[in-house]
Symmetry: C2
Subunit: 243 residues, 2 copies
């Protein structure tokens, strides 16, 4: 008899400026977020990564560790409401990439950046991760274009990239940005990443028309306040430093 | 503290004509093998697949269940010798898709064929699986081309598809094939699949020049005997029905 479940090791932990689910891109590779994976012992050895620089992209297999509901077995939810369908149409869980699924396993293709091996530990630097800070990593595999890249794949409701919205910075904020940069230790790349994250419109589907309603996305050590100021236009209104 | 390992459910079992590792393609989607996944309760409900026909391709996340060595933790092997490098060059395990890796998790993109829901159970029919019969399945997710298909990905030693060899059928065998078909219940599609499997050259890298040496690949209920008869030419010499 086969066991009805299997146990897997956690090999590393994600370090990301994304601190909460809100604002995290719904798929990998949509926003060029810089993140790292801190490898845990005994997987924190350089030889395990020998040759990895030959690859431009990697698969990361990871756990949706912040799910509060266990959707495994007795609590199995057969359908979900994907944001891409406006959040009010149900489809089967295996026809979606919803985080609420039996295995709670996420699959993301990211760009390989570099390996950093210091006394503080071994870190794999990646770009485009859609995982929040603290995410447990189960496996890292190279992306093989001859096998994984399927140009003519068809994906019904999810064939096209999500629409990107316009993002403006509030004029007062723009004027103060160099001061804020000093206080928060964030830099030009961070501002660009924040802009790209907001451009994805992280608001829930049923609130994506809410005009002038404030929303807050956490990024690294700041809260980013934004709201919609016109049709398809979002404005970043404040950057608040967290303690 | 985070747990150092996680437990996942097995949601289904693969049914495949591939009965042994020998002959199984080294990546998915190289050979159009027909296979099914028999869903296990409570995951064997049609609603969990609602909308799946919108997708041409699916990701299957599965377990290398026939690994005899546990490469997790104390037995962690940092390097492997991929067949693509002739089996005599070492690279890091995370720069390869070797089955000997901490998580023992396989990742395969396959074509969606159809769903079969009968009294005998719910089966997902897929094409192109590189998993052997009996493989435990952990998750099924749609392939999203806008996110997963990366045309310009670079993959060093594994950028190109493996070279396909010529496959001939022994003349005596060809003459007898209709008799064998009756005895074995195999059909034209099976013969084509067998030919495609042999064309991948399943022999170990260090024996890929072995002339006139017999090899045997198991497929469904038969043993397929083949050997190399000339440079890059393999010949199928006998189809032996198993009891």
């Amino acid at each position: 008899m086969l066991p009805q479940q299997i146990t897997l090791p956690i090999i590393g932990i994600v370090n990301s400026p994304l601190k909460q689910k809100f604002g995290t891109p719904r798929q990998p590779n949509l926003v060029d977020i810089n993140a790292t994976i801190s490898m845990l012992p005994p997987y924190n050895v350089l030889s395990a990564f020998e040759g990895i620089a030959q690859f431009s992209h990697l698969w990361i297999i990871w756990q949706f560790h912040q799910n509060r509901i266990n959707t495994n077995q007795s609590n199995f939810q057969t359908t979900v409401r994907p944001p891409r369908l406006g959040g009010n149409q149900k489809i089967g869980v295996f026809a979606s990439r919803s985080m609420y699924r039996p295995a709670n396993i996420g699959l993301s293709v990211v760009k390989f950046s570099h390996i950093e091996n210091t006394e503080a530990g071994l870190r794999l630097h990646i770009i485009g991760a859609d995982m929040i800070d603290g995410t447990p990593v189960i496996d890292i595999k190279p992306y093989l274009p001859y096998s994984d890249s399927i140009d003519d794949a068809i994906a019904g409701y999810a064939s096209q990239k999500p629409v990107i919205k316009s993002v403006h910075w509030h004029p007062d904020l723009l004027q103060d940005l160099s001061n804020i940069a000093v206080k928060t230790q964030l830099n030009q790349t961070d501002w660009q990443t924040i802009e790209q994250l907001i451009a994805q419109d992280p608001r829930p589907a049923y609130r994506q028309q809410a005009l002038n309603t404030p929303f807050v996305m956490r990024y690294q050590n700041v809260d980013v306040h934004f709201s919609q100021i016109a049709e398809s236009v979002l404005q970043i209104q404040a950057i608040e430093l967290l303690n």
